[in-house]
């Protein structure tokens, strides 16, 4: 089963990357760009084919490794 995991910074956590991108877009004359936030997307393929089990397996991976849950949230999308 293929899946995508989206990892984003929690609300209120400073995002230096997003801030710098916003600034750089402004300097390149792209006006009116706001609230730029940078996150990660991780694509993976796991052996498990049962949806519920796959989801809970990936959840465990997020909690243990993929996301830094002190400052990040994650969302899982199963693709099949």
């Amino acid at each position: 089963m293929k899946a995508k995991v989206y990892i984003t910074l929690k609300n209120g956590v400073l995002d230096p990357q997003g801030k710098a991108i916003e600034h750089a877009l402004g300097a390149l004359d792209f006006g009116g760009v706001n609230e730029v936030r940078q996150g990660k997307m991780i694509e993976l393929d796991i052996a498990e084919s049962d949806e519920a089990k796959a989801k809970s397996q990936i959840e465990a991976m997020c909690e243990k490794l993929l996301a830094n849950t002190v400052i990040e949230n994650y969302a899982i999308e199963l693709i099949g």
């Binding site: 929690k10 609300n11 209120g12 956590v13 400073l14 995002d15 230096p16 600034h23 002190v70 400052i71």
Partner: protein, 580 residues
Amino acid sequence: MSNDFNAIEITPELIAEHGITEEEREVLMNIMGRMPTYTELGIFSVMWSEHCSYKSSRFWLKTLPTEGPQVICGPGENAGVVDIGDGQAAIFKMESHNHPSYIEPYQGAATGVGGIMRDVFTMGARPIANLNALRFGSPDHPKTRHLVSGVVAGIGGYGNCMGVPTVGGETTFHPSYNGNILVNAMTIGLANADKIFYSKASGIGNPVVYVGSKTGRDGIHGATMASAEFDDNSDEKRPTVQVGDPFAEKLLLEACLELMAGDSIISIQDMGAAGLTSSSVEMADKGEVGIELWLDKVPMREEGMTPYELMLSESQERMLMVLKPGREEEARKIFEKWELDFAVIGTVTDTRHLVLKWDGEVVGDIPVPPLVDASPMYERPWEPTPKAVEIDAASVAAPSSLTGALKQMIGSPNMASKRWIWEQYDHLVMGETIQSPGGDAAVVRIPGKTKGIATSSDCNPVYVKADPIEGGKQAVAECWRNITATGAKPLAITNNMNFGNPERPNIMGQFVGAIKGMSEACIALDFPVVSGNVSLYNETKGEGILPTPVIGGIGVIADVAKSMNMALKNADEELVLIGE
């Protein structure tokens, strides 16, 4: 004071939640002569916290030797300043970021490095070397691997980006740190001895200026967060760790040094822990003046921020300055060139009060001298550490194989090479690193000169645990030896006192013993203490860490080309043992 911001009712419970004891509450009420507002309560709580007030340690810290002909400025400012000849000064300090690094190793360690560098460049010095003293739990503890790699990456991530070489440190492992690692970071900066910047505000009517990054809701204390009403609707708990932005700090460094090259700054203070609160209070207190802040003018990262949050935020990469009148535009130009925020957010007054306004309306008003002078100081009960039983060397069996014993020693985590760590640090940037990590002390050359600074950080906590006085002495002596081994003359030290819960007499006894031992060694070696930091309550499940008074020292060597290292140079040369 009819502002909504302070509509929150101040109850004894809320005061207690802010970590203020009943005794301290009495003092607070006497100072204010009324109930404090919510914002004011927040300010008292941070100013009187262990972190800001040093309430358990101050009494003993005052006994450390801090003077010498080489000392330009001892403890009490952002960092210590010593004369290194040729009209130049070294400015240095060590600081801990233990708890944040345990919660989020990368960001905790990174912001620790960022904080100590600000302490140094706020005084007018360009940082030229970083060190880091690390203590982790047992190597086979399940969390250790994650903590080591995160902390090391964080230290490198910040220091490498800043372009300051990380040239030394120490890394040891012991199970007592399993639930409470130590991350102590040290920075050495270089300044002209006649151009050092202090925090003392002066000049009634002078502008108070905010520079750096915007203020967000970073690091506002967890307990007080829960009781506050500003929380948005999201159910996620707002994280209390700060994220570092080394790029912003690099810009802040360059902008500050550019402005400092002129003469428009009267005083400057970095916003570290307790950000705007401690910086403004310290500036006013030192200058015996008042400060009025217009909080609605503070550059904000998030919407709907309150005075309470603005005063308590620990957002990184910010500074507060008092400028000479009429010099705002000159300063603004520099900060805008470096693409940083710049805002006039207040003025120096003659009231000796910290007055906080929002849209012209007063939202807080605290007399500064009693806030500072009446901050609690405890002479906590302590008991001397009982003498450890001496091990009779004869009772230890000789190893059956000397090679085996040697291999075991070299292979032990504490003795093993730390190359894996320091190769992740840029220890060469600036092009002045003469002795890299891996030796006794690092040596960095002063740009344009033949002379250099030798530096080392040291402590053997096992010794301190066995005998705090002797262990304290030995930490100082080891640092002194490491510096002399390069050929440099030791000048002065900074320190980071990492201990358990000071409310326990045996822990307080370790602290007192270490201070006594350090003092004795410092006096004997003419090696005064010019700055330092204290981190208490390092415990897990009621078990304190090993007492860890880390010593960071510097020395000067006239010609770095003559500095010595430990490499064996040629075959067949004799090895000589000196000393007792």
